[in-house]
C-alpha cells in the first residue's frame, strides 16, 4: 500500500473518529461510575443542532463564536444527560429504558429535529466552521505532517481530553474514587464516598462531552444541519466504549480503527481484493463479543474491568 493511501486512510479515520472519541470519553466516564447511558445519539444530536444554531446566531469573531457554540452544545448535552441521571440514580428506573427514552426524546424525530424546525436553521449554510490548523508549520512533512500537524482544533482537543481523562482516572484521587464507585459502590460508600454525587457528575459530564462530539458534525464536518445528522455515531460510540474496555487510550485507538476499517474495506475492493467492507466493519463488534465471552471467567473479568456495578442502581442499606 502506498504511503499516500495510508495517509489518506489515516486522515479520514481521524475525521471519522473524532466525534466518536469525544462522545465515547463522555460515555466512558458515565459507565465508569456505573451508569449505562444509551441516550448518546440523542445527546449528540442536541449538541449538533445547538452548536449550529449558536454559531448562526451569535455575533463576533469566528473563534469566539465557535467556542461559545461548543459551550452551548456541551450545555445541551448535559441537560439531556441530567434527565437520564435523575431517572436512573434517584428514581432508580431501569437504565436501559431511561437511556432509550432519551434517544427517542432528543433523537432524529425528536427534540433535536423540533429545535431545528423552531429555530429555522434547516437549509442554512453554516457561517462558522473549524478550519484545519497548521501546527508549528509542519503540515508539509511527509506522512506525519498531514496526520499530526494539519488537524482542526477539536481533533487536538480530543487528544488532549484523552490524556486528561487518562490522567484523571489513574493518577488522581477522584479518578480512583470513581473507579471504586463503578466497581463496588458499597465499598466506596463505606469509605465515605458519595456514590450518587459521583454518578450524577459523571453522567452529566458524559452528556456535555457527547454534545461537543455532536457539535463536530455541524462545526467541522459539514456546515449544515439536518435531522439525524449523526447517523448512528452515538450508537457506535457506545459500542466503542465497550470495545475499549473502558480505557481512554484504547478508546482513541478504537475510534480510529473503526474508521480505518470501514474505509479499508472499500480501498481493498478498489484494489481488486474481493472482501466485503462490511466484514471489516463488523470485526470490532465481533471481537468485542469474543473478548467479553473470554473475559467472563471471574479471574479474567477482574483484569479486563467491566465496571462491575454497571447498570445496577445503588441502594444504601439503612443501619
Amino acid at each position: 500500500m502506498s504511503s499516500d493511501l495510508a495517509v489518506s486512510i489515516a486522515v479520514s479515520a481521524i475525521a471519522y473518529g473524532t466525534p466518536l472519541v469525544l462522545a465515547g470519553l463522555g460515555e466512558l466516564l458515565a459507565e465508569r461510575s456505573g451508569v449505562l447511558n444509551l441516550g448518546v445519539e440523542g445527546m449528540m444530536l442536541m449538541g449538533a443542532v445547538t452548536a449550529f444554531f449558536a454559531s448562526q446566531m451569535l455575533p463576533g469573531p469566528g473563534w469566539a463564536v465557535l467556542i461559545l457554540a461548543l459551550a452551548a452544545a456541551a450545555a445541551a448535552g448535559a441537560a439531556m444527560a441530567l434527565i437520564h441521571a435523575f431517572l436512573s440514580i434517584t428514581v432508580r428506573v431501569n437504565q436501559i429504558v431511561s437511556g432509550l427514552a432519551l434517544t427517542i426524546f432528543a433523537g432524529t424525530i425528536g427534540l433535536s429535529s423540533y429545535a431545528g424546525q423552531v429555530w429555522g436553521i434547516g437549509g442554512q449554510h453554516g457561517l462558522h466552521q473549524l478550519s484545519r490548523l497548521d501546527v508549528l508549520g509542519l503540515s508539509d512533512v511527509p506522512v506525519v505532517g498531514p496526520i499530526l500537524f494539519n488537524q482542526d482544533a477539536m481533533v487536538y482537543l480530543s487528544w488532549g481530553l484523552v490524556a486528561l481523562v487518562s490522567y484523571y482516572l489513574y493518577r488522581t484521587r477522584f479518578g480512583l474514587y470513581l473507579r471504586a464507585v463503578g466497581e463496588s459502590p458499597r465499598s466506596a460508600d463505606a469509605m465515605g464516598i458519595n456514590v450518587s454525587a459521583y454518578r450524577y457528575v459523571h453522567t452529566v459530564l458524559g452528556g456535555a462531552l457527547a454534545g461537543i462530539g455532536g457539535a463536530y458534525f455541524t462545526l467541522a464536518i459539514a456546515p449544515i444541519w439536518t435531522d439525524g445528522l449523526t447517523a448512528g455515531a452515538g450508537w457506535i460510540a457506545i459500542a466503542l466504549v465497550i470495545f475499549a474496555f473502558w480505557r481512554p487510550d484504547l478508546l482513541l485507538v478504537g475510534a480510529y480503527l473503526f474508521g480505518a476499517l470501514s474505509s479499508l474495506g472499500f480501498t481493498l475492493q478498489a484494489n481488486g481484493v474481493q472482501l466485503p467492507s462490511e466484514l471489516f466493519s463488523s470485526l470490532p463488534y465481533v471481537m468485542t463479543v469474543v473478548v467479553l465471552a473470554a473475559a467472563s471467567t471471574t479471574l479474567a473479568r477482574r483484569r479486563i474491568g467491566t465496571p462491575a456495578a454497571l447498570g445496577v442502581p445503588y441502594v444504601r442499606e439503612e443501619g
Binding site: 431501569n94 429535529s113 466484514l279
Partner: protein, 374 residues
C-alpha cells in the same frame, strides 16, 4: 392528617391512578412545549387524534407502524420479566427479515398458506438463533447480555447491508432496471404477501393479528404454565429459584430464544405484511427493536398491555409522519413520546410512596426488618 410514607404495597387505586396521572402530566408538559413554540396544544392533539385514528386510512396506517412494535415489545416483555436484558431485538428483527425474505424468495412457488407459514418459521428461527448467542454466553459463561446483544445488533445490521448493497447474494436484485441504478433487494412474489384482514374501511395486518394471538399465548405461558412459573420465580428471586431446584441456565437460553423468535417474527412481518423486500436502510432507520424496549416498559411488561401500547405509539408515529409539514414538525413525535416516557418512568417514583389519610398505623414489616440482629 395526610402523611407520606414509603411503602411495600401500592394500594389498588394508586396502581391505576398513577399511570393515568403520569399521562395527564405528560399531556400538560407536551402542551407547554407546543405553546412555547407557537402551536396550539389542543388543536395539535386534535390533529394527532384525527391523523391516527379517524381520518381516511389513518387507522390502517397506524397499525402499519404498530405491528413491528407489537413484536419487539413482546420480545422485551418476555425477557425483561425474567431479568434477562435482551436489547438485541433490533438485530433479531433484522435477522428475522433476512430469514423470512430468504424463505419467501426460495419457496416462491408454494401454496400461499404454506408459504406464509414457512416465512414465519424462517423469521422466527433466524431471530431465535441470533438471540441464542448472547443467551448461551450469559447462561454458561455469565457474560453480560446487555453488552453482547447490543454488539450483535451492529453485526446484524452490517450483514443486511452486505446482502443487499455489497454482494451478489440471493437476496439482491441483480436484474431489474432500477436495480442496475441503485442496489436493492429482490421483491417477493405476490403469493408471499400476507393477507390483511379487512374490517370495513380498515385493514388489520395479518402480522398484528398473529401478534395478538401470540400476546395471549405469552400471557398464558407466563401465568398458567410450569415454564412461566419458573420464569417468574427466577425473575423475582434467583436465590429462591435455586433453592427450589430450578435449572436457571436452560431457562435463560430458552427465554432468550423465544424472545429473539418474537423479534424475528417482527422482521418476517415487515417482509410479509408490508415491504415485500429486504430493505436494510429502512429497517435501520426505523429502529423498531429499540422502540420495542420502550413499548414494553410502558406496558409494564404485560403482554396484553403491549398490544395497546404498540397501537398508541404507532398512532403517534403515524400522525407525525402524516401531518409532517411546516405547521407540524416531525420532531414533535419524538419529543412527545419522550415526555410520555419520562412522565411514566418518573411516576414510578411516586408509586413507591403511599399517601395515608389519618393517623399512620405501623405498616406490615417484612421478616428481615423485624429483629435487630446484634
Amino acid at each position: 392528617m395526610i402523611s407520606i410514607e414509603r411503602s411495600l404495597v401500592t394500594p389498588r387505586w394508586q396502581r391505576v391512578a398513577l399511570p393515568v396521572a403520569s399521562l395527564a402530566i405528560a399531556a400538560i408538559l407536551a402542551g407547554i412545549v407546543l405553546a412555547a413554540s407557537g402551536h396550539d396544544p389542543l388543536a395539535t392533539y386534535q390533529q394527532i387524534y384525527e391523523a391516527s385514528f379517524t381520518s381516511t386510512g389513518a387507522l390502517t396506517a397506524t397499525f402499519i407502524y404498530a405491528t413491528p412494535l407489537l413484536f419487539t415489545g413482546l420480545c422485551v416483555a418476555l425477557a425483561f420479566r425474567m431479568r434477562v436484558w435482551n436489547i438485541g431485538g433490533e438485530g433479531q428483527l433484522y435477522m428475522g427479515a433476512v430469514g423470512a425474505a430468504g424463505v419467501g424468495l426460495a419457496l416462491g412457488g408454494w401454496p400461499q398458506p404454506l408459504l406464509i407459514a414457512m416465512m414465519m418459521v424462517g423469521g422466527a428461527v433466524a431471530g431465535m438463533l441470533w438471540a441464542m448467542i448472547p443467551g448461551l454466553l450469559r447462561a454458561y459463561l455469565h457474560t453480560n447480555e446487555i453488552l453482547t446483544s447490543l454488539m450483535l445488533n451492529y453485526v446484524a445490521g452490517l450483514l443486511m447491508y452486505y446482502l443487499i448493497y455489497d454482494s451478489a447474494s440471493f437476496w439482491r436484485d441483480t436484474t431489474s432496471a432500477s436495480a442496475l441504478v441503485f442496489p436493492q433487494g429482490k421483491y417477493l412474489l405476490p403469493a408471499a404477501d400476507w393477507p390483511g384482514i379487512v374490517i370495513g374501511s380498515f385493514t388489520l395486518p395479518f402480522g398484528f393479528a398473529a401478534g395478538i394471538v401470540l400476546a395471549v399465548l405469552l400471557l398464558a405461558l407466563i401465568r398458567f404454565t410450569r415454564f412461566g412459573f419458573e420464569m417468574r420465580v427466577m425473575g423475582d428471586s434467583p436465590a429462591a429459584a435455586t433453592y427450589a431446584g430450578m435449572s436457571t441456565r436452560r431457562k435463560i437460553v430458552t427465554v432468550m430464544a423465544l424472545s429473539g423468535g418474537l423479534a424475528g417474527l417482527g422482521g418476517a412481518s415487515q417482509i410479509g405484511d408490508f415491504g415485500h423486500v429486504l430493505d436494510p436502510r429502512g429497517l435501520q432507520q426505523a429502529g423498531y427493536g429499540y422502540t420495542g424496549i420502550v413499548v414494553a416498559a410502558l406496558a409494564l411488561y404485560n403482554p396484553l398491555a403491549v398490544v395497546i401500547v404498540s397501537i398508541l405509539i404507532g398512532a403517534l408515529t403515524n400522525a407525525g409522519f402524516a401531518l409532517q409539514g411546516p405547521l407540524f414538525p416531525i420532531g414533535l413525535v419524538g419529543t412527545m413520546e419522550g415526555i410520555i416516557l419520562f412522565s411514566v418512568l418518573g411516576g414510578e417514583f411516586l408509586g413507591r410512596y403511599r399517601i395515608r389519610f389519618g393517623r399512620a398505623p405501623a405498616p406490615a414489616i417484612a421478616a428481615d426488618e423485624e429483629s435487630g440482629i446484634p
